[in-house]
Structure formats: structure tokens, C-alpha cells
Symmetry: C2
Subunit: 358 residues, 2 copies
């Protein structure tokens, strides 16, 4: 009586962690099917100690699948997610392709699980950098309201996939072992595979994640702006981001500045965040306790600290928000959405197909 | 008829670069004397190809010295800078010890060279993270005024000295060559030598630079706030900072948000910054041109890009500011102050000693 769960993009940095999160999940799972492109099909991965052969993703891959987790790039989701829905599966899509589609809920379960109730077969998992900020800010928004957000990110290279992790390690070894100057290291992938030029990330900081849009912000920055508005259901909330890649492999950090509608006493802000599901308060500067990327790796929670009043603006608050971008930022949030769908009785075939079959 | 210039802390990360900057300086220099603690005294360094033996710093070290550049820690400046002034030297101090002293000008030559005219023998060089922000923002302040600054920094480990560089390289090698998890790497120095706990910086981001103050900001963050007000002569300008160490060896990056008193058209802001001495505009996102830490290493300029309007606030502007923290942030700004003192005829013995001899 359990589910058949498919993972599309099973061999990637997020896909392999989706498998781990499914292994640890409370979902009743009968069978896991692993799907990929032709490049990885035929590989053998483990699920709960059993060999599972990776299959090629086709339009016909989803017969008998109840839940399909997609993390193989926007074009794969665009092509195959509608076929999965047509075959009766509920899709949790970790790419940006459907996130702004009005027929698709964009969900961080702690924040807006209610949005799942109206799903049409596809649920979008937000961008990694957005998710952890939502976990930190939603408790503040609920209690005092938010009137603006400014965020600067310190993002791990794993957000750009396994190939970016490999590139970063190769570059760093060239610098520390071979004495190459960071500026002279060759790069093929970062700051983003889809753009023309590539720059070293070893001992560098790249103020570009994803390609640039017409307004001189990057898509990554606009994802933080637009996804925040949709998840919080606050279309007029001002949100501006600067998204920066740093030479960290796992876990994103964020310097977040907010202004609240009502003045929020800092000790109450700390207590309110500490009490919010999925958030962990790490804030005791007298004992040098604050969130660190290295400590968040492998954990599902979002860690929040350095919470302090702005020095001049009465309703201004600064904080430091850290989470494993591959877990809460992707694999765990996706599996958590699936768990929440199950708990709410929402894992069922969709009657009317609202998405184009390509 | 040239100067005798002393470098105190000559063997450190900044001191060695002070020697390089003096070699390239327009100052008329007859003789360079290199001073240090007993740990490094007796070492032999080069100045313009000639051997110079490093001497122990004592109260009597400054006889015959015209200009003394200090970068050996606050306690060394506190102890010996007044003796240097008493002996007739003009001191350019790169530590934080004298920066908020009302008898001491705090100078970024492009911004407030006029403050040198009233010196009393000691001139303070601001904190590295402050200096580059001043070069980027002063042209904007002069033309449109500033009503607030929020900055998040991405600071290189070299700001904590040569030992922090060595520690970072050792940690990173342990991760990439020996497979140690970043969280399990041993640390002795960072986030700051003077605090109780030490954390790995390899593949991490540490939201602590210097120790914490009573208001839950770090001293580094309060330096950015207080030094900005003093340099810009704007005691009421709101400035709040989040200072973060990242695994970069050289060059600080900063995500700077400002609000101007008058609305500033972005293209004019770019042109105004490009025309300011010491600032270089690198801003052509269509061609992926923006400042990068790796490219700024070894250069004296401050690089500014990603200049764009806030998405909601009419007078809000975001930018990305990068400079070599050891050059413009320390060694070059100190030598540049010395050059400016020379140009203004201000290298002379001070009549009244305003600083306590300890």
C-alpha cells in the first residue's frame, strides 16, 4: 500500500541527496525508481542497501509512479513533468521552470503548506537561497509584519551542481598544490554554465549566479525577490538581493536585513525564530555562537543568528541565516513537500491536465 | 635631501607590502629602516635590491626618522608611535589604536586629504574594509548626498595577517588533499586571534571579524560605522555593517547598499564613480564585467560594479566594491598618505606632543 516514488536527475548533487532523504523519510514507500538522461542511464545506485539501476527518462517513464521528484534542470521538467502528471503522478519540481506559474504552488512546508491544497499535479520547490530566508523570516512576518528585505548571499558552489563542485576542487588544488595564481586558473562552468564567460571561484567571490536579466539583476537575485513575494503572499513586499558565489562547497549563508511593520524587540524576535519549525537559533555572541556553513552541512534545519537591531533604524533588524543548500534548499524541502502532500491526503492523480505536453 | 622612512612591523603581511609600495613610491627616500619585534629582528629583507637588516623596535629607534609607517598591531603603535613623534617623525599608523582620537586625522587621500593639514604627528590609516567603501561612495556623497549605508562584506583572511593566510592554506590542503571534513579541521587563529574560540575558514564563512562589542556588533563592524562617519565628516550618517570572513586570501569584496539624499540616475552614478581618483568602474553585466577579488590582487585601485537601482526604493542603489585589502586597504593607503603629506609640505617635526609616552 506504499508509494512508488521516482527521482528524475537521480545521479546529480541534488538527486543523490533526494535518495538519501527518501531513505530517511516517513513516507510509506514501496518502490523507488531512479531516472536520468542517457548520459547516466544504466548506472547502479543504492536505495536502502538495494541496487537500483538508473533508467532513461522518457514520456512513458511515469506509469505507476505516485510521486515524482524532479531535479534535472528546467528543460527536463518542462518536457517531462506534464507527462508525469498525465500518468497520475504528483510532481515536486526542484527547478525554476514552473515556480511562477499561477497553477503551481511554490512551497516551503513550514511557511505555506496550505498552498498545497490547490495543487494541479505539480508543486514547485523554491530556489535554495529563497527557502532558508523564508524559514528565518516567516515567524517574524507573522508576528510583526515585514516592510522590506535586503539580502546579500554567500552561496556554495554545489548550487551549480556536481560539475561545479568538481571544478572548484580542481581549481583549489591547482592553487594550493601547484602554486597557480587564482586569476590564472582555468574555469569552464562557474559563474554559470549557461553564460558565455567562465571565471575561477578558487579564492574568489563571484557576484553573479545565473545569467543577468534586463534590469541588471541576475535571475538568481530575481528568484529571491519574486519567490519571496509568492510564498509569503505579499506581492508588494520590497525585496532586493545581491547573490554571490563563494568558495564553499556546501551550505549557503545570507546576511539578511529586514524592516518590520511594527517595532520588534530583539529578544522576542530570537524567541519567535527559535520556536518556528525548521529554524534553529544559534545566537550567543558572548560565547561566539553563530551559524556557520561548515556546521550546517548534512542538516535539515535553517540556522539563524547574529540577530541585532540596526544601529539607526528603529524597525531595522540584521541577521545571519545558514542552511545546507542541497538539503533544506533542495532535496529535503522536496521530500518534505511529498511528506506534507501525504499527510494532507493530496497524493492522487490530477483530473484536469493544466500543463502543456511538449 | 630625501627622507628616512621607517617601517614598523616590516616582516608582516602588510609590512612587506609597505616596503614594495615604498619601492614604487614617488616619495624622495634616502633610507629605509625596517623595525620589528624581537621575534623577527635580525632577519634580512630587500629594499630596491639592497639587503636591509630588520632592527628591534625600541623607544630610541626613531632618531633621524622623518616618516614612520606602523603596522605591527595596536599595542605596538600605542607604545612606540608617541616616541616616534617625539623624535621628530610623522607617523602613519595602520592600526585601529588612534583612529577615533580627535587629535588624529583618519585619512583616505582621495576623500579627505585636507584633514592632514591639522595633523599632530600621527595620522591614522582607516580599516581596510572602510577604505575601499569610502573610495566608492565619496563621489556619490559629494554629488547627491548619502542618507544611509548598509554593507555586507566578503573579507580575505590576509586581513588577519600572515599567520591567518598560513592557517587557511593548511586547512584547505587538509580538506582537498586529505579528505578532512571542513567542520573537523583544527583552527588556532581565525576568526580572530584575540578571541577564545577558533573556527575553520576552509570552505566556510565566518560572520565574525574581531571580537564582539556590547551592542552585538563586532569591532570590525563598528569600525566601518565609526570610521565612515569620521572620514566623511557626517557624524549622523546611518551605517550598519555585517562583516564576514570568506576563504579568499587577498582582496575584500563588499555588497554595499546606499540611499542618496537626492535621487541619483544610475548612469550618472557610474560616470561619477568612474571619474573619481582611485576608483575604477567595472560594470558591463551584458558582457559579464564586474569586479572580482582575484583580479584586484596587487592593484592599488578600488573596483566598483553591479551598480543598480534598488527594486523598490527610489533613492536606493546597490553596488559591488572590491579592492586589495593589503594595498589600498593598508600598505598603499599608508604610503599614499605619506606621499600626500610630502606634497602638502606636512612632513615635519611636531612641536607639541599630544600623545602619552608609555
Amino acid at each position: 500500500m506504499g508509494y512508488t516514488v521516482a527521482v528524475v536527475g537521480a545521479t546529480g548533487a541534488v538527486g543523490t541527496r533526494m535518495i538519501q532523504q527518501l531513505e530517511q523519510s516517513t513516507l510509506p514507500i514501496d518502490k523507488v525508481r531512479l531516472l536520468s538522461s542517457s548520459r547516466s542511464a544504466g548506472k547502479v545506485l543504492k536505495y536502502k542497501g538495494q541496487d537500483v539501476t538508473v533508467e532513461l527518462t522518457t514520456e512513458d517513464s511515469f506509469e505507476g509512479v505516485d510521486i515524482a521528484l524532479f531535479s534535472a534542470g528546467g528543460s527536463v521538467s518542462a518536457k517531462f513533468a506534464p507527462y508525469a502528471v498525465k500518468a497520475g503522478a504528483v510532481v515536486v519540481d526542484n527547478t525554476s521552470y514552473f515556480r511562477q506559474n499561477p497553477d503551481v504552488p511554490l512551497v516551503v512546508p513550514e511557511v505555506n503548506a496550505h498552498a498545497l491544497d490547490a495543487h494541479n499535479g505539480i508543486i514547485a520547490c523554491p530556489n535554495c537561497s529563497t527557502i532558508q530566508m523564508m524559514v528565518a523570516l516567516e515567524p517574524v512576518r507573522q508576528k510583526w509584519g515585514l516592510s522590506r528585505i535586503i539580502v546579500s548571499t554567500y552561496q556554495a558552489v554545489s548550487g551549480a551542481g556536481q560539475s561545479a563542485i568538481n571544478e572548484t576542487l580542481r581549481e583549489i588544488k591547482e592553487v594550493v598544490n601547484d602554486g597557480v595564481e587564482p586569476k590564472d586558473v582555468h574555469a569552464d562552468i562557474l559563474p554559470c554554465g549557461g553564460d558565455k564567460k567562465h571565471f575561477p571561484i578558487a579564492f574568489n567571490a563571484l557576484a553573479q549566479i545565473d545569467v543577468f536579466t534586463d534590469n541588471d539583476y541576475t535571475y538568481e537575485e530575481m528568484k529571491m525577490t519574486n519567490e519571496t513575494k509568492k510564498i509569503m503572499e505579499e506581492p508588494d513586499l520590497p525585496v532586493s538581493a545581491t547573490c554571490v558565489r563563494v568558495p564553499v562547497l556546501f551550505s549557503h549563508s545570507e546576511a539578511v536585513y529586514i524592516e518590520t511593520k511594527e517595532v520588534a524587540p530583539i529578544e522576542e524576535v530570537k524567541a519567535t525564530i527559535a520556536a518556528f519549525p525548521g529554524a534553529v537559533l544559534e545566537d550567543d555572541v558572548a560565547n561566539q555562537v553563530y551559524p556557520q556553513a561548515a556546521n550546517a552541512v548534512g542538516k535539515r534545519e535553517t540556522f539563524v543568528g547574529r540577530i541585532r537591531k540596526d544601529l539607526d533604524v528603529e524597525n531595522g533588524i540584521h541577521m545571519w541565516v545558514v542552511s545546507d543548500n542541497l538539503l533544506k534548499g533542495a532535496a529535503w524541502n522536496s521530500v518534505q513537500i511529498a511528506e506534507t502532500l501525504h499527510e494532507r491526503g493530496l497524493v492522487h492523480p490530477t483530473k484536469e491536465l493544466k500543463f502543456e505536453l511538449k
